[in-house]
Symmetry: C2
Amino acid sequence: MSKGLLFVVSAPAGCGKDTILEQLFKVTENVGYSVSATTRAPREGEVNGVHYHFMNREQFEQMIKDEAVLEYTEYCGNYYGTPRKAVEDMLNEGKDVILKIEVEGAMNIKRLFPECCLVFILPPSMQELERRLRKRGTETEEKIIERTAQAREELKFAENYDYLIVNGELSEAVDDLKAVISAEKLRKTRCMAKLAELRAE
Amino acid sequence: MSKGLLFVVSAPAGCGKDTILEQLFKVTENVGYSVSATTRAPREGEVNGVHYHFMNREQFEQMIKDEAVLEYTEYCGNYYGTPRKAVEDMLNEGKDVILKIEVEGAMNIKRLFPECCLVFILPPSMQELERRLRKRGTETEEKIIERTAQAREELKFAENYDYLIVNGELSEAVDDLKAVISAEKLRKTRCMAKLAELRAE
């Protein structure tokens, strides 16, 4: 059985990556999601083990020491990281895996898994991004300004990604991500085994 | 307006590329099809200007002289070629274009349009390919043997393509081709204008 493919999805806060992934998992099979670990406080409605593995700094630092995270980073004063075992298990089972991580983590994953596929979600405009952040209502004005500035910094990394998806209409963005996942599996470099099989016949 | 993308679809005879494309055009918009010119005789049900522009050798050679074909080749004793103007017009209108051409023509198109995307349709197995050729009932036994040998030759070119799609289940192959077209438009290199727009905001 061939190994699964690893996809990394990044986006500035407010670009809707959580909603896109939620919708995607409703319509795709055989795609696993790696739940990140973080030391940031849960937002309203966030469930431990579903949205994140929430933990304190001490626990997170123990994971780092044990090499139990594939990559980690500090972002806005909190640790974020990808638990290693769950990802490796799913890939070995032939399951594709989606990691939702920020830009520096994504670059680290690309170094560890050069075969992985990086997807960046863009807002339709910076103005719309700010509007969405405000609409959330979970952030202070100071945080909104901080996040908008952060988004501009993150955009600089977008050109290191393989695919760029604009989240204007949610359903279109979901279809786009679905298409990327399907198409990546059809890339010639990933299908050489089938070709060899036909030639040997 | 940005130019359309050029897709080239190739497959050995019997792999079902005509049926896949027929189905695809039922479910996609803004994808144009370039009707090839050929000197081969029409098969039953084939319509001039729809399946091919059928012409005699003299007419075809005049097109070559006039540089009115993007590429052409001789295959099983007949000319096959891609009329230039229709393709260039559609691309300039921002329409994606699909060319259905054999392997050597595809390599020529790649040289002319390095940005184009090459898709090769594979049979599920060589045995199944032969069965499909027989089932068609339009070919003599001699032709079937010739076409199977030809298919093996064409398979050698498959590794020069960008995507490989196995036509086992027709509807899956159509979905796959649709995904490839969608995903290719999302590739970072094709979205740099949007990125520049966001950064300038």
